[in-house]
């Protein structure tokens, strides 16, 4: 039986990690022993809080500002993470996401484009940049945070759904392109998770969730930790639903 490959020295980069699911992922990966770059767009205080939490638990972290929708963000983030920790980024979690919901008849070009730029194009550019060091290291973990709406329809979210379904397709393509270099690319598809992003969702919708409750960011982070771990080395191109049965 082939041995599990030993993980080369590297760090993790989590985008959109100042709060919600991203913050939980950053904390979880730090607990797993990864030095973690905590990317944020605008809330530097919240990102500093995540870094402080990690350091208090004897982990290593750095907060890095960048809007992943920008064309220079990937190079800036990788340079920042790699110069701070002195090792390449070998785990990338594309979590940064925005929503701008509207029925498609009312959806503006800008609402469409902004969501695609952040949620899909940003992940593409970061993945392309990440593969440079992952290919040479013969090891890499890419986890893309998709959504249940990438798997089943939700009225009012055509832009978000297109981006999240696109992430799943990109994940699978990356997986088959680079699997033979010890690199895995997987997606996690959260359902309704209790975060700021879902705070406006009507609680009456809970009846649609088989588990009859929203999930927690930590429940999503646990799945990401698994997919990044050595134990998941043979899991590639998968979509792991974390949704209380919503997509089943």
């Amino acid at each position: 039986m082939a041995e599990l490959s030993a993980r080369p020295e590297g760090c993790a980069l989590v985008t959109g990690a100042s709060r919600g699911i991203g913050a939980a992922i950053a904390r979880s990966l730090a607990r797993d022993g990864w030095p973690v770059a905590v990317n944020y767009r605008s809330d530097g205080d919240a990102a500093a809080g995540v870094v402080a939490d990690i350091e208090q638990a004897d982990g290593r972290a750095v907060a890095l500002a960048a809007d992943v929708a920008g064309p220079a963000a990937a190079d800036e983030l990788f340079a920042g993470a790699e110069s701070h920790f002195g090792v390449p980024v070998l785990a990338l979690v594309n979590n940064a996401g925005i929503s701008a919901d509207n029925l498609i008849s009312l959806l503006g070009d800008e609402e469409w484009q902004n969501v695609l730029d952040t949620n899909l194009t940003g992940a593409f550019r970061l993945t392309r940049r990440a593969l440079k060091s992952m290919l040479r290291a013969r090891f890499g973990r890419i986890v893309n945070i998709s959504s249940v709406v990438g798997l089943r329809a939700n009225p009012g979210q055509a832009n978000y759904a297109a981006a999240k379904a696109g992430l799943i397709a990109m994940t699978k393509t990356v997986a088959v392109e680079v699997a033979r270099r010890g690199i895995t690319a997987n997606a996690v598809a959260p359902g309704w998770i209790d975060t700021d992003m879902t705070s406006g969702v009507e609680s009456g919708l809970i009846v649609n969730i088989p588990a009859r409750r929203p999930g927690t960011p930590e429940e999503v982070a646990a799945c990401v930790s698994f997919l990044v771990s050595d134990a998941a080395g043979y899991v590639n191109g998968a979509v792991l639903s974390v949704d209380g049965g919503l997509a089943a």
Partner: protein, 80 residues
């Protein structure tokens, strides 16, 4: 940064050998196909070349490369 043809040739051959083929088979006239060097290997070769010589090879450059010598000549010409 400029590099001599010999330096580039030696770096390219060493890198290609790390992808699997026996180093004795890696000559200037050998084709990537007969060495079983695939497109992902060439992407990685391009990364090594960028790191070592600052030469950026794009997708359209790579498509034209058939033989080991083609890659060496292209890199040397760009590194000048």
């Amino acid at each position: 940064m400029s590099a001599t043809t010999e330096q580039v040739e030696s770096r390219v051959i060493e890198t290609l050998a790390s992808f699997g083929p026996d180093i004795s088979l890696i000559t200037r006239d050998a084709t990537f196909e007969e060495l079983d060097i695939d497109s992902l290997d060439l992407v990685e070769l391009a990364q090594v070349v960028e790191d070592d010589y600052g030469v950026i090879l794009k997708g359209e450059d790579m498509k034209e490369l058939k033989k080991v010598g083609d890659a060496i000549d292209l890199i040397v010409s760009r590194a000048e």
